[in-house]
Amino acid sequence: MNRRALVIATVAIAAALFAAAAVYYPRSTDGIPPDKSTLIRAHSPVIGPSGAPVTIVEFLDPSCEACRAFHPLVKKIMDDFPNETRLVIRYAPLHEGSDEAVRILEAARLQDKFLPVLEKLFQEQPQWAIHGAPDLEKAWRFAGEAGLDLAKAREAAKSPAIAALLAQDISDMKAIDLKGTPTFFVNGKPLPSFGPQQLYDLVAAEAVAQGAKALSQ
């Protein structure tokens, strides 16, 4: 018996078996879309026209680098489909200190400064959102630079309404078994796979589908 041939044949057969099993493994069709009510809550910040036919739900964490990287792309989608899309922001505070960053955002929303503060926090994220040692005082300062009235905002950030909103978002995040941030749903549908192009394509497809539906009615 040739030992070398046996080793090579074993590797080849194992690789072939693996490939065949990988091809024929029944993949679950990327999860059942979660219940609409867990995706959109009345308390959530909405950007864009409220009656838009396409709703993008984004679960985001102000401390998450991928959310920061995605933000300009989400804005581009909003710019490309200004009348068709609205963006619903859900919070997924997965990092240490993220809950307070969310409080900053919610306090900013009360002063109509949500977007400028969100963008400032994303822009300065490397300065304040250091994993393991976040500096929320810096985050507050950056929010102040974005135009937030800090004295009022710090008081508002302690409100039970914001605490309740955070608790609800965290419970919904667990209910949909969120794997990471950002996670997007377009009209309740998850992305086929993670990526900015996939998000763009799904929004475009939904905009066309909803437009056709509106025409036929």
């Binding site: 030992r3 080793v7 074993t10 690789a15 990988a22």
Partner: protein, 143 residues
């Protein structure tokens, strides 16, 4: 000059160790990449020992290198220790500190099974089998 195996029996044991390492490596790749079960922290350490074992043992079986146990046994022992700890953790014998929820799976989650068998126990038995084969092959080729 390579110290080749004097008898076919000890080479077969080496080949068996290689087959176990190869099967284990491909199985965890299947569970992780195809079935989509994200490996936990301890799983990654066991992978770090199992993947090189598959390659080192393949080369050794190909070359009939009897000296491979010196390289493979420390790898297998390292994996065995991690797998042993993971099995104890999974069985609840070693308590796990409470960790905040976040991305990445827990090392003691109930879903960590393959065909009803817990993955940490499968890992432990693979490393045990590899160690046994290597020691037996060494014993036979030495005598």
């Amino acid at each position: 000059m390579i110290a080749s195996f004097p008898n076919a029996g000890s080479w077969r044991l080496l080949f068996l160790a290689f087959a176990v390492a190869l099967a284990s490596s491909l199985t965890v790749l299947f569970v992780g990449e195809v079935m989509g079960q994200v490996p936990c922290n301890l799983c990654w350490f066991q992978r770090a020992f199992m993947f090189p074992l598959a390659i080192v043992l393949a080369v050794a079986a190909f070359r009939s290198d009897a000296a491979v146990w010196m390289y493979a046994l420390p790898l297998a022992a390292g994996g065995w220790l991690v797998a042993g700890f993971h099995t104890l953790l999974y069985a609840g014998i070693v308590p796990q500190a409470i960790e905040p929820c976040g991305p990445g799976p827990s090392c003691s989650s109930v879903g960590m099974t393959l065909g009803g068998l817990p993955l940490p126990a499968l890992s432990l038995s693979s490393f045990t089998a590899i160690i046994a084969c290597l020691l037996l092959a060494r014993g036979r080729s030495a005598s």
